[in-house]
Amino acid sequence: MRKTFLVWLFTFLIIAFICALVVSFWALTAQASQNAQTLIRLKIADVEKQLRINQDNLYEIRKELDESGIAKAKALAKMIQLNPSLIGNSEEIEKIRELLLVDEVHIVDRGGILIFGSVPSYFNYDMASDPQSAAFMEAIRDPDFVLAQNPLPKGINKEIFQYVGVARLDEPGIVQIGYRPEKLAKALEIADIKNLAPGFRIGSSGSVLILDNQGVIVSSTEENTLGLALTDVIDSGTAETAKEKMAKETEGSFIAAVNEEKRLFGFKKSGDYYIVGQLPSHEMYLSRDSGTTVLVIFNILLFGVIFFVIAKLVQSIVINGIYRVNNSLEKITRGNLNEVVSVRTNKEFASLSAGINTTVNALKEAINEAASRIDTELSFAKAIQHSSLPSKFPAFPERKDFDIYARMYTAKEVGGDFYDFFLVDENHLAVVIADVSGKGIPASLFMMISKSILKTYALSGLPVEETLYKSNIALCENNQEDMFVTAFMGILNTRTGVMRYVNAGHNPPLIRKANGSYEWLPVKQGFVLAGLPNIRYTEQEIVFEQGDTLFLYTDGVTEAMNRVEQLYSPKRLIRVLNQFPGSLGLEGTIVGIKEDVDHFSEGAEQADDITMLMLRYDRSADFSHKEKQGNPSKEVFE
């Protein structure tokens, strides 16, 4: 759960991180774009202002120049009126030219022909022959005519030169002066639009362009772009939008690429010009990029801290509690109902703990109740099982011809062992030892049935084999559970000492001849009882001499197990029996074997019922008994 939670938390924080970053990036981009536009707009305003100042200056200088030129020309016209002989006097004209601080002086007659001046090579020039000079022809007709021409480049040097002309006062004609307007030339140079743009910079790598109204670059930092259209400079992909935008609006901005580098352009129409500012996008987004870097680092730190704090909190408030509850539940599931859940880190856990504890306590009570009921019933079953076995010893106090002793030590759980002995008639003693497969109430019930069926058939006087054959058939009926019984049954003729016996799948018994040692009784191992119907068994016989002892037992003895899972084994049984002194007696022997089994198991719990039965034949006593009775019974069995 913790992992799942952390994965979700991490995913959520990553999404939040990305969102925060995207929004910040977008805001920073907008901010950077805004800032760049403002920067360009302000710069354009500066350029525009400079442009206007230049033009104003120029206008003022020109006005002054024109006025002074006109005054000088008028002065010369007056001089000629006062002294017409000046015409033809080159010396005087030269002096006057110098006094007037002009470069050229020309006098034109009423026919428009330059008749005299400071430059003899111009003499006889027809003013009407050129549009520039023809502009002065009006002065021949109009005595009030004045004209200060636009200063124009002249000669090889292309020096700026201005002509001013007025009407002659002495007769119709023109007085013209020409001079280099140095001040104006200087102002013109300063005001030259071509020189304007290189004087401005936007940011560190942005620049200004000035276009004429045809969109041709007339001023730029990059001289190689002069004379080109802006749309030629811009990459073809973005040129069209730029063109459209500039055609529609008088002021605005657009993004276009130049040599595959994106730039932000701002423009403004100012008189006959367009002032354009441009800023490369890398500079435009410089602040955004650095801002984003800072933001990313800060956000990573912030989200990292949030992640660890939340993970830690959840761990300490929820996960640890759940682990502790789970640990306790695991212990409870494994059977430790005394485990108490005590997670009280918060109200919810306290309530959960209390709930679990209440449930477990209720469960514990129910289990204890059920257990005590079952215990009672089991001890009843055990008691009934025990009481069904003959347990009064000596069993036949009046009989001196044999002695018998048996004992069943039940395991904790009710088992299916049983033994039995009874007199079929005065001279015949039946002994049985058996073990029902399985344990518990079903086994003990089956044991009772088996015992009574065997006894019933034996008491009806049937031979041993027939008894077992019929008992087997009876037990096979209604045995849905596939239980079975291993049994050994023997019937001893107490008069002759002949015992006829059958072994139906039971552990082979032991026999000790008087003054000898214990040995296996030769047995043909027949099939167990209640397994399959119609099984025939092999009946065998053995003749008991005085003092011979039969030892019957169940696998509870030989398969008793110690702590290292070793079995007690038939070998040990026979060895221990033979170590006992002959004088020990039947009861002493059985108790002795049980003690040895206990000793062997080293305290390991007894897993199965332990049952033993011993029969000793004392023939001499038998004879005396029978002679006294004088009533030998019919030999049914032999």
């Binding site: 073990d435 497969s437 399985g438 344990k439 596939d482 239980m483 079975f484 291993t486 139906a504 799948g505 039971h506 552990n507 082979p508 191992q525 027949g526 099939f527 167990v528 397994g531 399959l532 696998d555 398969e559």
Partner: protein, 100 residues
């Protein structure tokens, strides 16, 4: 106890290892119930790795043999070790089971 199931020709082989006693018998019993419930099959028990068999274990073999007899198929037991063999002999199971 561990039960390994495999197929050998037209028979299902159950290889048992460990101890077949009161605790583990229900496991085999259940396995057989599901096996024999579906269809009539031939069974082979491989007891090479079986250390011990208690009366509860014998009961499972008896049940299986009865069911196999009823179905008319075959059941074989092989790889029986000395301990297990002795138990089969003592209880007379050698007479009713097909032990190789």
């Amino acid at each position: 106890m561990e039960i390994k199931k495999s197929v050998e020709g037209n028979a299902t082989v159950l290889a048992l290892s460990g101890r077949l006693d009161t605790i583990t018998s229900p496991q085999l019993s259940k396995e057989l119930e599901t096996l024999l419930e579906k269809e009539a099959i031939n069974l082979i028990f491989d007891l090479s790795s079986l250390d011990y068999i208690s009366s509860s274990g014998l009961r499972v073999f008896l049940s299986a043999q009865k069911k196999i007899n009823a179905m008319g198929t075959q059941m074989k037991i092989r790889g029986v070790n000395e301990t297990v063999k002795e138990i089969f002999e003592v209880t007379g199971f050698t007479g009713i089971l097909n032990i190789e």
